[in-house]
């Protein structure tokens, strides 16, 4: 392990994030090369969490853009604050009258008004959305573009333009250049294929579910009140559940929720009653729950399997 990457690992650990060698290496590289980093992986393995921890480590302000279907420039980049413009016009009416009072012709009045229009299209009335905010921020910034796979292909193309030279042109104002180059982290849950062009520009990191030892360390770090033996049992069960063919496998964040629930209920061991009470924290689908029950109570297994066979 390199000195430089192990220091990344330590710094992340100080932020309560346990990073594998792979994660540390790639983060280090992204930082050195000044490249955007694309993080993929199943939901809830700590992709967003990693970005937050990294912003704390590098002392960068975190600006987050949550993507969704239908997200467009107006909501991601900037918008003119129309209501504020109107309000100002109303309030400044007297002053406007005064400025325009000695204009003789209509044309002259229009010219004079035009020479003042910069006031109304200045940064004062610009509603900054996350992308513009990240570009114009004076402080070092970490721009987190979350769940990019949920946005549309068009938005992705637009994003490419912004990410490649960190400048934005606003017709009324001209081109705004980034005051500092933000670190960019994109996350994706892999629900759709991202464009080749976007992937080409980014470094790539795939975070998978942690191994048993890693997950145990995470649980112990985040839920310190948990008895070691119980934590071990709980994590082992979660790892076993992930091997089942579930609609949604339990994520790390769900493991943590569950661990907290167990601590709150003051559970001593994973007995049937505790499981019945808390398994819904871990599994959110009825079918998944039933499968898990079958795994935990092999007694009922035969009956259920019989049912399945006779149906098909």
């Amino acid at each position: 392990m390199d000195n430089s990457t192990s220091s990344v690992q330590q710094a992340l650990a100080a932020q309560q994030y346990i990073a594998s060698d792979q994660i540390a290496t790639v983060l280090f590289l992204a930082d050195r090369l000044g490249k955007p980093l694309l993080i993929e992986g199943p939901a809830g393995v700590g992709k967003t969490e990693l970005a937050k921890a990294w912003s704390a480590v590098t002392d960068r302000e975190l600006i987050r853009l949550q993507c969704y279907e239908g997200l467009d420039e107006a909501k991601a980049l900037y918008e003119w604050e129309y209501a504020k413009q109107m309000l100002y016009t109303q309030l400044l009416r007297d002053k406007l009258n005064h400025v325009l009072a000695d204009a003789v012709t209509l044309a002259e009045a229009a010219d004079r008004l035009a020479s003042e229009e910069d006031i109304f299209f200045s940064e004062r009335f610009l509603l900054q959305r996350p992308l513009l905010k990240a570009i114009l921020n004076d402080r070092p910034t970490l721009l987190l573009i979350d769940e990019i796979d949920r946005s549309d292909a068009e938005f992705e193309a637009f994003l490419l333009e912004v990410l490649s030279d960190f400048q934005v042109s606003i017709p009324e104002l001209g081109t705004l250049q980034a005051r500092q180059q933000p670190t960019v982290i994109l996350t994706s849950n892999n629900t759709r294929e991202l464009s080749e062009a976007l992937k080409r520009r980014c470094l790539y990191l795939f975070i998978d579910y942690p191994t048993l030892e890693e997950e145990l360390r995470i649980v112990q770090l985040k839920v310190p009140g948990m008895a070691p033996r119980l934590a071990q049992q709980a994590v082992e069960l979660v790892q076993r559940l992930r091997k089942l063919d579930l609609k949604k496998a339990p994520s790390v964040s769900e493991t943590l929720d569950w661990a907290r629930a167990l601590v709150l209920l003051n559970a001593q061991a994973l007995d049937q009653q505790v499981l019945d009470q808390t398994l819904t924290v871990l599994l959110k689908h009825e079918a998944d729950l039933q499968k898990a029950q079958r795994l935990l109570n092999p007694r009922d297994y035969g009956r259920d399997m019989g049912g399945r066979f006779s149906r098909s």
Partner: protein, 460 residues
């Protein structure tokens, strides 16, 4: 080292991973940052900069050790192996015993005892003799490895080693010393095998990369399905995913642009706030009419290649069609939707083709359509596009044209994709000329390019 990395990138491209020039440049920069001393982080560096898709990770994992192998574990020197415990007279006895072994193995055992690795020149010479230059694919790997081992005498080693042990026992050597010799020879033989294995693997990967460059000139997209070699088909299969992605984004864009004429008041108001509520820019309701597909595939021998690619495409495009139900037939109809909705494309398609094995002259579309109407007619409604993929060669069975009419009356449209050109319709057992006028459209799809065009027209 840079040269080796470039070769590796070429190897990855040959394996079907798309790597751009900009990415290889990034890779070089990153390597300069982190250096190559630490193998683990070097590996991460290459992977993070070159491989942007988790599905390509296995290929990376396969090729990386071939290009950046350590050249096998180092062999143990005689002193590390404990051979210095042998007194001079023991050494003499050992040399005597070795001389009684087979010629070929004498030199080998000598080498292994001394911990002498094969030099690069030697490796290349043996590989040449074993025929590495004629090998084409990774499948030849084992065979060449074995040939090289034979040339070196490694295949006879175990036998000869036992012989050696017997001879040494007769010469009165102590057991612990014999054990040291045996351990030294066996461990170093293992190291040598590993060295050979890596050399052959790397050589094959390089040859594959070279051939890939030569091959790219020919345009597989337009080559008819029935004239593809197995290798070319493999190449095309890799392409399908990329083409599907293109098709998908194009379709998504088209869907977004397509308006259905109704003004979306809420969005229009919001957009036009900046004009003081004067509606300058109109926003329309989106049309979310993804096609609903029923796919009827002929999977008899003649149709297999087309059917496979069709199924692959449909599998990749699942998010662009609101609902697909797929059926396959030879003499009767099978529903295969379930198979396509699970697991991995390749596996499920192989599974289907395996489950419905081709027979001899048993295609019966008429009977299959009857089964379809009898059992699965609920799959079609007025929004469904029914696609029949087949050559209409019916083995002189009843074509049941009335059933096509029944389906067409119920469905939005019936589209027929056939791999045969129009001139062939109606020849022999083909009923295509009878089916064609009953469909809304008939497209000829004999190559991947045509297949993609036909599907593109569906996804409006």
């Amino acid at each position: 080292m840079e040269r080796r990395i470039v070769e590796f990138i070429m190897g990855m491209r040959a394996a079907g991973v798309r790597i751009s020039i900009a990415e290889s440049e990034d890779c070089m920069k990153a390597v300069r940052e982190l250096g190559i001393e630490d193998r683990g982080s070097f590996r991460e560096t290459l992977r993070a900069t070159l491989v942007k898709d988790v599905h390509d990770f296995p290929k990376f994992d396969e090729l990386f050790p071939l290009y950046f192998g350590s050249g096998g574990p180092p062999m143990r020197s005689p002193s590390a192996g404990g051979l210095d415990q042998l007194r001079p007279e023991d050494m003499q006895a050992l040399q005597q015993a070795i001389k009684q072994l087979r010629n070929r193995v004498q030199e080998l055992i000598q080498r292994l005892l001394n911990g002498e690795q094969l030099s690069r020149q030697e490796l290349e010479r043996f590989a040449q003799q074993a025929g590495l230059q004629y090998a084409d694919t990774m499948r030849d790997r084992l065979w060449i490895e074995r040939r090289m081992q034979q040339l070196l005498g490694l295949d006879k080693l175990e036998q000869e080693l036992q012989q050696l042990m017997r001879l040494l026992e007769q010469a009165g050597m102590a057991e612990d010393l014999r054990e040291i010799i045996r351990q030294q020879v066996e461990d170093n033989a293992q190291a040598m095998r590993e060295q050979i294995r890596q050399h052959v693997g790397a050589g094959l990967a390089e040859r594959q990369a070279e051939r890939y460059q030569q091959r790219r000139g020919s345009d597989l997209m337009h080559k008819p399905f029935n004239r593809l070699t197995e290798e070319e088909a493999e190449e095309l299969r890799k392409q399908v995913r990329r083409l599907a992605a293109q098709l998908r984004s194009r379709a998504a864009l088209r869907q977004r642009r397509a308006n259905d004429g109704q003004i979306d008041v809420r969005r229009t108001m919001r957009v036009n706030l900046r004009y003081g509520g004067v509606p300058l820019e109109l926003r329309y309701r989106r049309r979310h009419l993804k096609p609903r597909l029923v796919l009827i595939c002929d999977v008899s021998t003649s149709m297999r290649p087309v059917a496979e690619f069709m199924l692959r495409l449909v599998y990749e495009l699942q998010d662009q069609v609101s609902k697909t139900r797929s059926f396959a037939f030879i003499d009767t109809m099978h529903e295969i939707s379930q198979d396509l909705s699970t697991s991995h494309a390749s596996e499920s398609i192989q599974e289907i083709l395996y489950r419905i094995p081709p027979g001899h002259y048993n295609t019966d579309l008429g009977a299959s359509l009857a089964t379809f109407i009898h059992r699965y007619f609920d799959a079609t409604d007025r929004r469904t596009t029914v696609i029949v993929l087949g050559d209409g060669r019916n083995n002189y069975n009843d074509p049941r044209l009335d059933l096509v009419d029944t389906i067409r009356a119920r469905a939005k449209q019936v589209i027929w994709l056939t791999p045969e050109p129009q001139t062939m319709w109606g020849t022999g057992d083909s009923d295509m000329h009878l089916y064609a006028p009953r469909c809304d459209a008939v497209h000829e799809v004999s190559s991947l390019a045509q297949l993609i065009r036909a599907i593109d027209r569906l996804l409006v």
